[in-house]
Symmetry: C2
Amino acid sequence: MLVLLDDSPGSGYDLVQRFRFGIGHFWNATHQQIYQELKKLHAERLVQYELHSQEERPDKKVYCVTAAGRRGLAAWFAEPVKPPQARDALLVKLYGGTRRNLPALIVELEQHLALHQKQLGDYRNLEALYFSQDDAGRREHRLPYLTLRRGIRYQEGIVAWLEETIALLRDDALPSAPVPSARAKAAARPRKR
Amino acid sequence: MLVLLDDSPGSGYDLVQRFRFGIGHFWNATHQQIYQELKKLHAERLVQYELHSQEERPDKKVYCVTAAGRRGLAAWFAEPVKPPQARDALLVKLYGGTRRNLPALIVELEQHLALHQKQLGDYRNLEALYFSQDDAGRREHRLPYLTLRRGIRYQEGIVAWLEETIALLRDDALPSAPVPSARAKAAARPRKR
DNA sequence: TTGATCATGTAACGTGTTACATGATTAA
DNA sequence: TTAATCATGTAACACGTTACATGATCAA
């Protein structure tokens, strides 16, 4: 939330929108959590707000990061972060799916496939939007775009895996070994460090 | 945990090992959480245990799923699950990294790259182990293998993205648009549903 | 004698989710 | 009149993490 508010000030409701549409693919929070966290950050003097009365709309509290908040942010950026650990219930089902209702499992995998295809399409539209900018805009939004790119790759990965997995289960086939050529190719051009 | 115990009975310590080495790439839990959860499941009569005294070793509680536990499991399998929502702090840093210490960020991305390459290597070794089995074994462990395959794809995706991102940041380059040929190819063979 | 492995737990805390709660405007 | 959007919150609970705690065996 500090990163978002440091980017530009906004109300709680505003942050909800940004979580939903901007950075939802790598961080999310409900409005309840956001309002409570804003209260906490305010108590810690890391953010402050101005009341904006509006005609025809409820009042807004527009939050921004304080000097202490910016120090906190800088400190956070200096600390290393840990990779997230996944908790994917669908994979738990698949793992434990032996001698269970396979057709039902396949249906659920298909539902997830549809969801991820939709997500992927949305992300690609956002990507097109990014590339419709001029060079100055592209440079400015370069880092947020790279996070979008991660989201796209992630969804592509899931979609490909789901398609492959569904096909395999439907045909009751045994998985085939990975193609060695692709792997050898990857090993043949090691990255400089 | 019910899925794991249904697969085969085991002690708390045993479950710790399975989380670490078996299914760690899509679900994890610390030993503290596992012991508390076992206590809870036992209070709900979903699992039961037998005490196994051992020479030269502390006593073991070997847990297994009760009939009620199996009913609970079946009910859980029948309910749809939600895709996990990611919370990736590294992406938050990248997103908010504009006008911050880029070289430091690149170093951190490289550290993560090394971690993920290591993970990927480990998973590929497990994969080789799977394919070293005969057909019967492959059939039996088919579903767990498919979850491993997901882990491999996931790590491959991260590694590729990290390499691309690090190279781009290091060269201070603008991202280039995705290759349309690859995407057209993907669209040209739509999946039957 | 130091650290790893086997084996089990409790307590405190912090984070996140669900349910409950209000109230105005606007488009279908 | 129904649902969506704008706009804000509280309370209770569930879940997860960190710290604390013990104690034996075995290999380096």
